[in-house]
């Protein structure tokens, strides 16, 4: 099934007689899984490069335009699993027009001939049509796992093709996509003798699936470990599903609100009591204090609790958390308020990751509700192992952030979003420069940073001076001049992804990074001061970069409204739509 290497020439054989046989090397390298390690292995020498490429079964491509499918299959003949990321991250926030690209089809066509034994495909921010899904389903007889995160271009009809034709499917993971939900009948397309499913996630699809079909599916798939249903599945239906699935490790409930009789409630409670293997729990939309207690028995081994769809109040959260003694990751809505976060601080000593999402992000004049700087500090006081935070708030202070990183100096991911642009320190009315300054000075392991609030170039001077391990930086509505961006480009040697919007950085800043961009995955700049001439200059000086400008309707010809720069061995895009100019 897998391709074999040709026998080496006599000279090669003589040389290798004294060194490691290839087969042994390949076997050993089979244990090397991390793609970064494999990258390092391939650079050691030609023999190792070859052994690595023959033994690699999984490939991760962080930017689908950095390489072409032809180049990929030429280098790696035995790939079983592909992970591809497409559009720039800001496309999640509607900054990238529809039909920009990142279409998977050309890849699938090449894979169909080179990787007919392909088993897994994981896509993020790519476009995939129903036709492509059907092509996928029919071209790869061993296909097992499909994961689509934040993708677009398809409808539930495309899922029908996957479900009906992939006889060995183990994973179907459909997450947060902008797709046409044409109904839930796709779920009924699983053949009656199909039993291999291990992961099923359709939580973000809106239409109702046939519950009987779902129940039968869950009952016959004895290896099912992950089940995340959508909102249309009621509590009573959930209880019926749980009867079949005591081996679940991850559960996403449907709507957690329904009129239940006492008997139905106790049935639900006992169903949850049987879910002792749950590590991850999510869903819980419309959860109320009335039924949350039914969950408590299932929380005993939870390490990840995702409450970002459940508008819990502080008291409800405070009652729930003590039942989750092993919690490491917690996602909540800001409806829990500072009081809820105090409960987090006191109940979750093992917490490593906290994400607080805004319940009403687009309300500008909210004066009550939400979380503030004191909730942030409260969490840090109790959760000393915290290293990942995503925090949406409407006010923050420099001193609070300083207190937080004093309590938790090990941040690797610090993403603070003060939701009103240019919002200063709530108490002192000064810029928030010192906050991010203390973050980068204290948290030496910082890999990812997102800044917000009123920020001058000083923030970026701090970042350039101290954030030596920084890999990803997101900047919006910040900075005073080109100097800010220049400091970052000059000072952060490990920077891979830089995304900037609405900042006063212009051509001088853009061009100061000439030497840097080839060691980065990509740069995004939108609504800054960069011009077409600046971009042309960059393109001229650095021919191995793709410098793309997305033209907006009605904007003038000299301003470069949206700029996307990335390194590529595949040359300029051949599939660029008319509004994407490659310079």
């Amino acid at each position: 099934m897998a391709s074999k290497r040709q026998k080496d020439s006599p000279e090669e054989e003589k040389k290798q007689a004294s060194s490691f046989p290839d087969e042994v090397l390949e076997c050993v390298l089979g244990f090397v899984k991390s793609h970064r390690d494999r990258s390092s292995v391939s650079l050691v020498c030609k023999d190792w490069y070859n052994a690595e490429r023959w033994s690699r079964t999984h490939v991760f491509i962080g930017n689908c335009y950095s390489v072409s499918p032809e180049i990929l299959v030429r280098r790696f003949p035995n790939i079983r699993s592909v992970t591809l990321k497409g559009k720039p991250r800001f496309s999640d926030f509607n900054l990238v027009p529809l039909n920009w690209g990142a279409d998977i089809h050309a890849w699938l066509v090449v894979f169909a001939s080179a990787y007919s034994f392909l088993e897994e495909l994981r896509l993020k921010r790519m476009t995939i049509t129903d036709e492509s899904l059907e092509f996928l389903a029919k071209s790869f007889p061993n296909f097992k796992a499909l994961s689509l995160v934040s993708c677009d271009g398809f409808s539930t009809d495309g899922l029908k093709a996957i479900v009906a034709h992939c006889k060995n499917l183990t994973e179907l993971d459909i997450l947060e996509n902008g797709i046409d939900d044409l109904g839930g009948s796709w779920l009924s397309c699983f053949p009656e003798n199909f039993t291999s499913l291990e992961v099923l996630n359709f939580a973000s699809l809106n239409s109702e699936v046939n519950f009987d079909a779902l129940e039968r599916l869950v009952a016959r798939c004895k290896s099912l470990k992950v089940l995340k249903v959508n909102k249309n599945v009621t509590l009573e239906q959930l209880q019926r599903l749980l009867v079949h699935t005591s081996q679940l490790t991850e559960l996403g409930t449907g709507s957690f609100s329904q009129e239940l009789t006492l008997r139905e409630y106790s049935e639900l409670e006992s169903a949850f009591s049987n879910c002792k293997n749950l590590y991850t729990l999510s869903g819980l939309s419309e959860a109320t204090s009335l039924y949350l207690p039914a969950l408590y028995p299932a929380c005993v081994n939870l390490t990840f609790l995702n409450l970002s769809d459940a508008a819990l109040q502080s008291a409800e959260l405070a009652k729930l958390l003590p039942h989750c003694p092993h919690l490491r990751r917690l996602w909540v809505l800001d409806t829990v308020e500072d009081k809820g976060l105090e409960a987090v601080g006191s109940s979750c000593p093992l917490l490593e990751e906290l994400r607080v999402f805004p319940a009403e992000p687009f309300e500008q004049d909210v004066v009550i509700g939400g979380v503030t700087e004191s909730g942030f500090v409260a969490v840090s006081q109790g959760c000393r192992k915290l290293h990942y935070v995503l925090y949406f708030c409407r006010r923050m202070t420099n001193s609070a952030v300083a207190a937080v990183v004093k309590n938790c100096p090990d941040f690797t991911h610090f993403r603070l979003c003060i939701m009103n642009p240019w919002e200063p320190d709530y108490l002192t009315k000064e810029p928030m420069d010192e906050a991010f300054g203390v973050v980068v000075k204290t948290c030496t392991k910082l890999q990812r940073l997102a800044v917000s609030g009123l920020l001058t170039d000083l923030t970026f001077e701090y970042i350039g001076k101290y954030a030596k391990n920084l890999e990803t930086l997101s900047v919006a509505f910040a900075g005073s001049s080109d100097r800010g961006m220049q400091c970052v480009l000059a000072g952060c040697p490990k920077l891979r992804k830089l995304e900037i919007r609405d900042c006063p950085f212009g051509n001088a800043a853009l061009l100061s990074g000439l030497e840097r961009y080839e060691s980065m995955r990509s740069l995004w700049m939108s609504a800054c001061h960069v011009t077409m001439n600046g971009c042309r200059l960059l393109a001229r000086e650095m021919p191995r970069l793709n410098v793309e400008v997305i033209k907006e309707d009605g904007s003038d010809d000299t301003h470069a409204e949206k700029v996307y720069v990335y390194r590529s061995v595949a040359g300029p895009r051949r599939d660029a739509p008319p509004f994407v100019l490659t310079l």
Binding site: G183, E360, Q364, P424, D502, N507, A527
Partner: protein, 198 residues
């Protein structure tokens, strides 16, 4: 290695001004407030909602440019950085003090990007349809209960709370704006098969 680069005329500030408005937003009449802090963009070029009251620490010169009352607040595209699936799925339990606008996305078959409109800013179907015609530069035909939109290349449709795609105009206006989740201007030939999707 020094590099002197001439940028010709592109120090034209207007061309490089930081704009937060949606593409096509007209900014020709806005005033420039004086005394604005140097690390902020000239606010007259930004859309109204950035002049929110909570930005109290900034220059009070901003209070001068109130010629446009923030009645129909446009949104900064993509801010705060919340993914769209989150926006639509969550229904806040708390009652909102003042009814916010009902913002829905409008897509049109063939157009490269979407627009957003506030359904509350229209008093009824005629106003809405006119606005759509202006926004996307096309014409909608005559609506009739029996035949939908006749005599045009496009038909306005919407996705309702149940996830079904409906023709705009069939239900009373109030019912429409409370159940409409998004709009799609469909090519006429597709729209005639609308009933068969459910």
């Amino acid at each position: 290695m020094e590099r002197t680069v001439t940028y010709e005329n592109d120090l034209n500030l207007k061309a490089t001004e930081l704009r937060l408005g949606l593409p096509g937003t007209d900014d020709s009449d806005k005033q420039t407030p004086s005394g604005v802090r140097s690390n902020k963009r000239t606010l007259s070029e930004t859309t109204e909602e950035c002049r929110s009251k909570s930005n109290s620490g900034t220059s009070d010169a901003r209070n001068d440019d109130t010629e446009t009352a923030p009645a129909a607040k446009a949104q900064v595209v993509g801010w705060p950085p919340i993914r769209s699936y989150r926006k639509n799925s969550f229904q806040p339990k708390k009652t909102e003090a003042e009814a916010a606008g009902i913002y829905v996305k409008v897509s049109m078959d063939g157009a490269p990007y979407l627009r957003k409109i506030d359904l509350k800013s229209y008093k009824g179907y005629p106003e809405l349809l006119k606005a759509l015609e202006n926004m996307f530069k096309f014409t909608i035909g005559q609506y009739s209960e029996r035949e939908g939109y006749n005599g045009s290349d496009y038909a306005p449709t919407y996705e309702d709370k149940d996830g079904d795609w409906m023709l705009v105009g069939d239900v009373p206006w109030e019912m429409f704006i409370s159940s409409c989740k998004r709009l799609r201007i469909m090519k006429g030939s597709e729209a005639r098969g609308l009933g068969s999707y459910v």
